[in-house]
Symmetry: C2
Subunit: 428 residues, 2 copies
C-alpha cells in the first residue's frame, strides 16, 4: 500500500519538476547578497561629500595619506556598535573578511601576542568550527592548512562542553570561528551562558583567539531583536582580555562591495595589529569612512536604516517560510529555522538527501549554495543542510525557486524512501 | 689661514641658523605627499557617479559583491598604463603598498609558483635592495625578517654586475625591490640595458621575483619624459615570463588615500594570486574603480592630468634646486640630482654629515625624512643621503626650509672640516 502511494507521489512530483525544468529558469539563491532595493536605501550617502572642505575631518584631509587606524568618528561609530571603546577599534577598507584573513595571516607570519612562535612554523594548527557555519571562514582555514574540527551547533550556540574540553587540552587548537548573532546559516544567537563560557575558556594555547564575526550585529528582521552579551567585556571580567578578535562591517548596512569594515579587540591586540599593519599600508580609504560616518551618524540612526532593510527582506523570508510550510509542513521530511535576523534560512532534509536536492534544483535553474559548503572541507557528515539566501531575488522569483526546491526535497525523499535508503521521521 | 676662514664661516652660519631657530617654524618635508592644490585637480571625479544607473558597469552593480580581479575597464586602463594585457592585471583597493606586502605575505604562507616551499619555512630569505631606495620597501623586509643586501645605485639603475652575481649564486635570494622610473629617492630611470639585464637574470632560486614598483610611471616634471622598457615583455622574450611583479597606483594621480592600485604580472602569476586572494576578500571597492575609470578615461587623458600636477609641483622642485645651487653650488660639500619626474630630490652631503644635518634641521623646525631611512635597516653606510620631498609645502615655506637645510649642511660640513673629520672634495 505505502509503496504504491509513494510511487504515485513520485510520479506527480516528477511531473511538477519537469514542468519547472521546461521553463528554463535562472534563479540564484547561492549567496547572502543584498538586493537592488536595499542598495537604494544608501544612495544619499554618495551625495554627502561634495565640496573640498567636506573631505576634511578633525583637521585631516581624508583624501590624502595617513591615519592607519581609521578616522576618529568612524572608530567611534564602530565602538558604539560593538560596545567597545574607541581605542579598541581599527576601521579598515571595504571587507571584514579581509581583516579576518589578515589577522590569521599575521598569526602565521609573525605570531600572536602571548604565543611562542608564528603559527606558520608549527607542525599543526587546528581551529574549532561550529557547523554548519560560514563557508568563507572554512575556506580561509583550508587555504592556510589549518585542520578544522567541526563542533555541533545547538539551539543556543555551539556545543560548549566539547569546546571547553578540546580548547583546554590541545595546544595546537589556536582559534574558533563564531557568528554569534543570527548565525550563518542557522540564524541562532548565542545565549548569555554560551558567551560567558566562551569568555571563561582556559585555552592550553596561550595564543588562542576567538574569531567573533559579528556580521549581523544590527541585522534584525522584526522588532523582536536578539541581543547577545558583550564578549570583550566578558573576556575582561574573566581575565582573558586578549582572547577575542571581533569583526563587523557595513557591507549589509550600506553597500556590500563599498562599505567599511572594522576589527575590535583589547588595546594590546589593537596596538600589535597596527604595528604590523604599518608596514602593510599607509591608510585605508578615509573618504569612504567619512561618507559612512556622515550618512550613518549614530547607532540609533543605523537601527532606523536597518528597519528599512527589514521592510524589504522580511517579506522574502516570510515567503520562503510560507512556501516551506505549505509544501513540506507536517511531512516530516524536512525541518528549518525561523530566524529573527541575519541573511539565511537553514533547511535540513532527511539524512543523505541534500546533495541530490541541490543538484536537482540546479538542473531546474535554481542555484543554491553547494550542499556541504556550510561544513568544514565541504563535507556535511549527514548530507542534509541546505542554505537558503532569500535576500537577492525578487519575491515572485523567490517563491517559484523555493517551490522548486520543495519539489526536489519531496522527490528525493520519496525516491529514497521507496528504495529504503531513508525513512521519514513519521515512519520512524 | 684656512682655519681662520672656516671659523669665521661657522660663526656667520651659526648666526643664520639661530635666527631661523628663533622663528619657531614647523615645516614638514618628510614624505612624498601631494599638496592640496594637486588634490583639487581630481575633485570632479567625486561628482561623476550620481544616479543608481551610474554605478552599473558592463551589467555589474559596482556597489554589490563580486569581481575579485577588479572591473574590466579598470583592468583595461592599468593594462594600457603598464603596457600589459588586461588578463595580466588585478585592480585592487587604495594601496599598491598593500598589494606588494600581500604578495610577500602570500610567498611566506603559500609559496610562489615554481618554488619548492613557502618562504616562511626557509631558514633564510634574502632580498636585494638597490640603495638608496624606498623606506617602506625595506620596512616590509625588516618586518618579515628578510635579510636585506644593499646594492649600489648607479646613474642608469642599480649595479647589475653585482645583482647578476648574487642572484645566480644564492638560492636564498628570493627578490629585489625596484623603482625603475624616477626612482625613490634618486629620480633615476633604468636604462634599456639595465631593464634587459633584469629580464635576463638567471636566478638560482626558481621562485625569485623582481618587485617592480612603477610608482612614478606617468609622473613627469616636464615635457621631457624618461621612458623605460617594458619589463614584462622583456622577461617574456628572455624566457622568464613569471619573474616579475609590477605595481602601480593612482595615489599620486588622483588621491593619495583614496586612489586605486594595481598589480600586473604573467597570467600564471595573476591566476595564482587571484586563487589565493579569493579566500582573502570578496572584492575590492568597485565604485571607486568606476569613478576612476570614468574620470581618467585613457592614458592620454591621464597624461594631460599629470601635466597639471607638474604645473603645480615642478616650480617647487625648481625652487629647491635654485636654493641648493645658490647656497651650496660650487662649494663641493654637497651634490644632488635634478630629476625629470617622481617625488624626490636626493641630496648627498660629505660623508658622515647627514644624520647631524637632519637633526639640526629638525631642531630649527624643518622635518626631513630620517637620515638613513633610504637604506636597509636605516643604515646609510656613508651617512650622507638626505631625501627631500618638495611637493607638499607651500613654495615660500619650501624655500625657507631648504635655506635652513643648506645652512645646516654648511655648518655641519664646516665644523667637521675644522675638526679634520671630513674634507671637502675641493680640499681633496
Amino acid at each position: 500500500m505505502e509503496q504504491m502511494a509513494l510511487k504515485q507521489t513520485i510520479e506527480q512530483l516528477q511531473k511538477r519538476y519537469d514542468e519547472f525544468k521546461n521553463q528554463k529558469l535562472n534563479l540564484d539563491m547561492s549567496r547572502g547578497k543584498p538586493c537592488p532595493e536595499q542598495l537604494k536605501l544608501s544612495m544619499d550617502m554618495l551625495k554627502i561629500l561634495n565640496k573640498e572642505e567636506d573631505y576634511i575631518c578633525d583637521g585631516i584631509d581624508t583624501r590624502n595619506y595617513g591615519v592607519l587606524e581609521g578616522i576618529k568618528p568612524a572608530r567611534k561609530l564602530f565602538a558604539e556598535l560593538l560596545e567597545v571603546s574607541e581605542n579598541e577599534v581599527i576601521v579598515g577598507g571595504n571587507s571584514s573578511l579581509n581583516m579576518m584573513h589578515d589577522a590569521i595571516a599575521r598569526a602565521f607570519i609573525f605570531g600572536v601576542p602571548g604565543g611562542k612562535a608564528p603559527w606558520g612554523v608549527l607542525p599543526k594548527v587546528r581551529f574549532l568550527c561550529p557547523s554548519p557555519g560560514y563557508d568563507r571562514h572554512f575556506a580561509i582555514c583550508e587555504a592556510f592548512g589549518i585542520e578544522m574540527i567541526p563542533v555541533e551547533m545547538k539551539q543556543d550556540g555551539p556545543d560548549m562542553d566539547e569546546i571547553e574540553r578540546i580548547v583546554s587540552s590541545d595546544e595546537s587548537v589556536k582559534g574558533i570561528w563564531c557568528v554569534p548573532k543570527y548565525s550563518n546559516p542557522d540564524g541562532i544567537s548565542y545565549s548569555d551562558d554560551v558567551v560567558r563560557r566562551f569568555a571563561n575558556l582556559k585555552p592550553k594555547a596561550p595564543d588562542f583567539r576567538i574569531f567573533w564575526d559579528n556580521a549581523y550585529v544590527v541585522h534584525h528582521l522584526s522588532d523582536e531583536h536578539d541581543e547577545i552579551l558583550n564578549i570583550l567585556e566578558e573576556c575582561k571580567k574573566a581575565g582573558n582580555p586578549d582572547m577575542v578578535y571581533i569583526f563587523a562591517s557595513t557591507s549589509k548596512i550600506t553597500f556590500p562591495g563599498a562599505g567599511i569594515a572594522a576589527m575590535a579587540a583589547s588595546e594590546t591586540n589593537i596596538k600589535y595589529t597596527l604595528q604590523k599593519m604599518a608596514v602593510q599600508t599607509i591608510c585605508p580609504d578615509k573618504t569612504n569612512q567619512l561618507r559612512h560616518v556622515r550618512f550613518l551618524k549614530s547607532v540609533e540612526n543605523i537601527n532606523e536604516l536597518m528597519k528599512k532593510h527589514a521592510a524589504i527582506i522580511a517579506p522574502k523570508f516570510a515567503a520562503v517560510l510560507e512556501t516551506l510550510e505549505r509544501e513540506l509542513g507536517g511531512k516530516e521530511i524536512a525541518w528549518w529555522n525561523k530566524p529573527r535576523g541575519g541573511y539565511f534560512i537553514s533547511l535540513y532534509t532527511l539524512d543523505g538527501c541534500a546533495k541530490e536536492v541541490v543538484a536537482m534544483a540546479a538542473e531546474a535553474g535554481v542555484k543554491l549554495t553547494n550542499a556541504g559548503a556550510t561544513y568544514p572541507y565541504g563535507r556535511d557528515p549527514r548530507d542534509r543542510n541546505i542554505r537558503i539566501a532569500p535576500t537577492y531575488p525578487a519575491i515572485e522569483d523567490l517563491k517559484k525557486a523555493i517551490e522548486i526546491l520543495c519539489v526536489c526535497v519531496q522527490l528525493v525523499s520519496a525516491k529514497k524512501m521507496l528504495s529504503g535508503e531513508v525513512l521519514s521521521r513519521k515512519v520512524v
